[in-house]
Subunit: 463 residues, 2 copies
């Protein structure tokens, strides 16, 4: 066999590169059927990799039928006709659009601005947490007390929610909390009212326990709560501070309507207060849980306001549910890193958390203002902007007689990644498509460039 | 009102200390009914705490009826007869035994030895992970590819399991993985075979989806697999490398029996390989998943071998289940910290992981040897030691005609915390009680002292 020269790339595991190189050479006919391959040991030596690496590459080639092992004699190339099937190693997570043009600007929602992350402080506090003896044990099943106390103090101060550490449960994501919550609620409740459109991830979590759905219609101007009277469910999932995806907030009258209705029904409101920190035009409205904590399950998280990858969420439970929850989940390990919990507790205690939120509110407010200005300048009357008063993304309703798919594909063709909103609708939406644009980790230049590309993508073809 | 002097303790939140102090003074009659309390502002000032702190303390006292607010006039003490009910703020997590003697030695299982934790390396790699742009996004729903690749390579090398990154799912705990797994299995399987005794946490997770149970009896000498033929279930949860709690390993013959049976039944084995790294007397036996990967769901974790608080687990799924799983959970966020995932991937890639495991195997082997020697020396023929060949704890069967409760209480009276095994039994156990002793984070001196206290606790009273 001729010498094969590999130039290993850094971002792909070596065994995969070896596997792919051999596969290519076999498919191109550059290696002949029944030709012997170098032994695992020889190949490892000549490529300066471990034997595991070459073994994994050969295993994959054997599994896919490109080569065969003949015991001690070694490995040989198969006839191409003998290939049983062609499987690729590529991940099923891969986004098909990534195979087209390279993405220049990604309006991805749910990212945070790395530039303003309090790197030094966080490192210092994490490093401290690593020296605590408690970090080397299994933690509290419902979350570390020090963090729950900080969250209780924060909720009182910023959201008007009066609670204590004992009533707070810490988990790793809103969906995971909803799954656990569903487990204790499903005995008394078989259906849940969700917003339409609304957060698809919550619906997925409710499906986990076979809840059936009723829907409250939400418009760009707000939710239609008059429908509640006709509904049978006594459980409702809402995003009152910042509707997902429309971005509207419930008025204080709507909040009171909801509270009165739930008291009449003797049910529960699940209030997902997922990004209430970022309201730009006025003070945040008080949480539903601050009006009536007996009938409201309050959900919060640190993904939007701090770091998605930290995986820290929490919920505040009314007493009867808290008792049920603690009984049910006493024998379950917490799913949340103790180190992240200790670090966040210290971060909050030191006041850094409040400072960080204030700083980021200003940063994101400026970016929101900038993207709105740019969109209006370039896309003019072709779009309507929705939800610019708060939150970490905005929506544009596009009036070009084009489908959501077309708008996304066309943007992608110009190197811009934008996001759909059709996934939030329980039934298909019929009028003009609405595109979701995140901007939090983009610079002003990125935003400007991205919007100018969107103009080209959406308008130049249609003009 | 007289001046109240507080000496704040560090480990209890200040609002709670203020609340408890007032409560005590009111209950003891040292503050009179209708006496006015200092205002929130005055109290905050005189105690040098924030107004939130005093507000929270007062809120709690109001909620429990000790005091009342009279608008702008301030807060006043209620008549004691007016108290509507007495609720305590104390956590329901609190262990009742903590109120007795102070714990001098805690034989807690599931802790790791802090002294040998690779603090500097971990810090360095975590700090690197914090600078990656990917750390500021939501991560892959099934875990970061770089970590899955490292786990695939590790499983091949150390457990003989041939898999690839695509077939691995990363989660935060074994129980959370079992809950998700149960969700995709419950359509085809309504019951599961578990070991008796066996890991109680797994049973709790299966209950989440109303699985019914059949049990395979496990003795100190091993599992009785002859019972399998009589069972109706086609799903079995086992701990073949290190039975929980007995510590026995399945022989290669038993492994083959299990594999043949599951192929006949066309079901699945869930193999929980939770601490296979720590086998002291011989090489670890190969995993079931290395014999037949088509019918085995393999579960592993980093809690036992690295750090419980990191909350990193994984499972390897056979192809049909993998397809189901990915379809079902595509819309669920990962529950695992991206930062921990990136750090662990780098830690494994650099070879530090293998070195750490080797080092800890030696450390724990010495500790296991030491505790066995001490127990034999002090408790002699009164105990039988079970499971000293591997793992991070051992069991002692105590032949003193005393109950498990008595043994635990008596130890606690002498300042030693030891753990029950009755929780692992599906039905109550009738013969001599078995006590679980972890030792991994105790020094040799601690072990010696702890065992000498156990001798006093268990033997001196009975002699």
């Amino acid at each position: 066999m001729k010498n094969i020269i590999f130039a290993f790339k850094d971002d792909v595991p070596k065994y995969k590169q070896i596997y792919e190189q051999f596969k290519l050479l076999i498919e191109q006919g550059k290696l002949n059927a029944n030709e012997q391959l170098p032994s695992i040991r020889e190949l490892a030596h000549s490529l300066q990799v471990s034997r595991n690496t070459t073994l994994m590459a050969y295993d994959q080639l054997v599994a896919e039928g490109y080569i065969r092992g003949e015991g001690r004699k070694g490995f040989f190339i198969n006839e191409l006709e003998n290939l049983p099937f062609q499987v690729t190693l590529s991940s099923s997570n891969k986004n098909p659009s990534e195979s087209s043009n390279p993405i220049l600007i990604d309006f991805r929602p749910g990212a945070v601005d790395q530039k303003y992350f309090p790197l030094k402080t966080w490192r210092r506090l994490y490093n401290q947490a690593l020296t605590l003896p408690e970090s080397f044990l299994y933690g509290e099943p419902f979350g570390e007390v020090c963090l729950r106390e900080q969250i209780a103090a924060y909720l009182l101060q910023s959201r008007g929610v009066k609670t204590d550490a004992d009533s707070i449960i810490i988990g790793s994501s809103t969906q995971q909390m909803l799954i656990n919550l569903g487990y204790i609620l499903k005995g008394d409740f078989s259906s849940v009212i969700v917003e339409n459109p609304g957060y698809d991830g919550a619906r997925e979590a409710f499906k986990f326990h076979q809840f059936s759905f009723e829907t409250v219609q939400v418009h760009e101007t707000g939710a239609d709560l008059s429908q509640l009277e006709r509904m049978k469910s006594r459980l409702i999932y809402v995003t009152p501070s910042h509707h997902s995806p429309y971005g509207v907030s419930m008025s204080i009258q709507q909040r009171h309507t909801l509270i009165q209705w739930i008291n009449k029904m003797k049910g529960y409101i699940i209030e997902d207060d997922y990004d209430s920190e970022f309201r730009y035009t006025q003070q945040p409205f008080p949480a539903l849980a601050s009006i009536d904590s007996a009938r409201v399950i309050y959900l919060g998280n640190f993904s939007k306001s701090f770091l998605p990858g930290i995986r820290l969420s929490y919920m505040v439970l009314p007493q009867p549910l808290l008792n049920l929850y603690k009984k049910q989940f006493l024998y379950f390990e917490s799913t949340t890193s103790i180190l992240s919990q200790f670090t966040m507790a210290k971060f909050m205690e030191s006041g850094e958390w409040s400072r960080h939120i204030k700083r980021m509110r200003l940063v994101y407010k400026q970016k929101m203002h900038y993207i709105v200005t740019e969109l209006k300048k370039h896309l003019k009357e072709n779009i309507t902007i929705i939800g610019e008063q708060s939150g970490l993304y905005l929506l544009v309703k596009v009036g070009l007689n084009r489908s959501e798919d077309w708008l996304i594909q066309q943007a992608s063709f110009y190197g811009v990644k934008v996001y759909p909103t059709s996934i939030y609708f329980v039934h298909n939406k019929t009028d003009n498509p609405i595109i979701k644009l995140g901007f939090t980790n983009l610079s002003f230049e990125d935003i400007q460039f991205g919007v100018s590309l969107l103009k080209k993508a959406w308008l130049e073809k249609t003009c």
